[in-house]
Symmetry: C2
Subunit: 346 residues, 2 copies
DNA sequence: ATTGGCAGTCACAAGAGCCGAGTGCTAAAG
DNA sequence: CTTTAGCACTCGGCTCTTGTGACTGCCAAT
């Protein structure tokens, strides 16, 4: 059985290894921490931990390094969420408080999170599928061009240009705008798509094709943006920690740019409650747990944000296994909470 | 004096070094290229080139490597712009043709350019300062909230939410919208700012503060976006070529994320006609020429796009000194031209 | 359960030696 | 004046060896 002291030993191994990047030996443990026992005793505990595959020795005889499982144990049971410093809290306030619109909020958030954690930060745009239609606008740009603008209650704005055959009837455009808003306002996006499919049929033949054109543009705007986006910052941090990766960080950077892989991972972390240490609301996915995404050598910490149940979207950080989980989980949680509050005010 | 053959030697040194990453010696030159002279003669030429600081020997006795100055000579006088392959041209057509709006065009462009060159690609958003006002829209969101939307003729759309005290008068909002569009439509952004400063004064006291609020929001939208943005893709390529950098690529990645440094560099390259090889329209900034930006170990190739004189904005690639200039300059030029044509159609 | 002692293991650094690619120089030939 | 062949020399990089030091695992004693 793994004793309580053994777990303390695991904790300091993780902490010291994260701090120093060097495999930690029994002697350095008794030197740096007051366990009140000898190095030999620590060695016995370490043998136990190795038995449980929580730590491993890179070479036959040098200190121990946490395994994926060891980090997992640390995150779930041993990490104390270090509260942010006053300076950090103040940075959040000052930095995010000055935002002007959704794009700006997310851009600031991701940069802030990257700076707080010294890792790659990721923020998912609010899922349109959980948003509702707030307003639809049709703006005539020229004789035969209309810009359709689509606004959701999460503050997202999508615009698209529609070429129409023949001159635009301004009066009818105003009527159409009004009818669209009446029909769609407040609907979820799935419902809105259904309504739009049938919308043109409520108009006479002369108008039908024109309305159908507009409706299909709006439908595309909804559909095209169901696939959400990520904003990213701090890629340079990945390079800084490059030595923590056995291979190249090239595939990792590619995955980040590609987005699609990370979005799947985000989705899975939202669905999965395994990785979630209940009291913090921060989910972790560590090392080989990401193997199916080709990201077996990184850790991802995420938290939902945007609604009281955290269900709209996620944000988080990505970095090497060897990261400061205590600090980073605290930062992710704090930023997610702040962002939730900020968006809630709108 | 540097003979014509010496320059041929410089050309093959650059080409071979870029291809192989190994310092190139006199023997391998006569082997791989048919100069019709002996290795000793090549050595004499190389001594000349070294005299002129166009090449340098990393160690006392191994092959030669181009200096910054050597690359500059190559770019200005020796590089043949290899025309794109049919497949590449087709890729441009297919990839960019499917775009739906400005954001999408630029996102696609930057990814395409990154793939064509295998380097980091950068595209600057069209400078608002050279744009004109196409349309202003005011959308009531709720009892006391208005979204002001600002559209330029370069297709850029900026939106912002304005909180107003007291209920909104829809009829007046329509009137205001009409008057704003009459007053601003077609104006350059600087002029528009001037008009807005005085705009509220044309309304009676009851309306004045309301109009002033809207006007100041619009002014902010213009001002906030005068500072342009870059879109970037292919950061992973920088990691791939990491061995070409003596130090870490960390500061380079930081500069890319920071944007401000690169925007200054872009601005300088637009103003400067030094680095521009006249017949191509592609400007190059090589190695130490970027030292003031802390980017002394990279090359940047850019071209203007967006107007016949290429004056609206720039796009380009960034990579190690040791890059395929012939291919990359051709790609930058081709993409810039295609993009110009695409935007001109709108 | 804990401890001290001890032999054993292994990565890593430093040093020695060899190899080969490539140079500069010189003297002769075109 | 340019080109060529020959030759001695330099030096980076590879391999092999050796030495050192940090650990461990095990065992007998407490």
């Amino acid at each position: 059985m793994v004793s309580s002291r053994s777990l303390d030993v695991l904790r300091v191994i993780v902490q010291d290894y994260v701090a120093s990047r060097e495999p930690v030996g029994s002697k350095s443990i008794v030197e740096r921490h007051s366990f009140g026992v000898s190095a030999a005793t620590i060695r016995n505990d370490m043998a136990l931990l190795e038995e449980e595959e929580l730590i491993v020795a890179p070479h036959t005889s040098s200190g121990r390094v946490p395994t994926d499982k060891g980090y997992r144990m640390f995150v779930d049971h041993l990490a104390d969420l270090r509260p942010l410093t006053a300076a950090q809290r103040q940075a959040i306030d000052q930095f995010l408080g000055a935002s002007v619109d959704l794009d700006d909020v997310l851009a600031r958030t991701v940069r802030l999170l990257s700076q707080l954690t010294h890792q790659v930060a990721l923020v998912q745009y609010p899922l349109l599928s959980k948003s509702r239609v707030r307003h639809v606008e049709l703006v005539p740009l020229s004789e035969t061009r209309i810009m359709s603008v689509f606004i959701t209650d999460t503050g997202r704005v999508e615009q698209r240009i529609v070429d129409v055959p023949g001159a635009i009837d301004e009066a009818f455009l105003a009527e159409l705008r009004a009818r669209l808003n009446t029909a769609l306002g407040g609907l979820g996006l799935a419902e809105a798509t259904e309504v739009l499919a049938d919308f043109a049929n409520h108009f006479d033949a002369a108008r039908h094709s024109f309305v159908a054109l507009i409706a299909s543009s709006l439908t595309e705007q909804i559909g095209a943006n169901r696939q959400d986006r990520l904003v990213m910052a701090g890629a340079a941090n990945l390079v800084r920690t490059e030595e923590d990766f056995s291979g190249s960080i090239f595939p990792v950077l590619e995955a980040i740019e590609e987005q699609v892989t990370l979005l799947r991972l985000f989705g899975e972390m939202a669905a999965d409650q395994n990785g979630l240490s209940a009291q913090t609301g921060v989910a972790a996915s560590i090392g080989r747990e990401n193997a199916e995404f080709g990201l077996g050598e990184i850790s991802v910490l995420t938290s939902g944000y945007g609604a009281s149940d955290g269900s709209i979207a996620r944000l988080g950080v990505l970095g090497p296994l060897r990261m400061d989980y205590s600090n980073n989980m605290a930062a992710v949680r704090a930023v997610a909470r702040y962002l939730t509050r900020l968006l809630g005010e709108d």
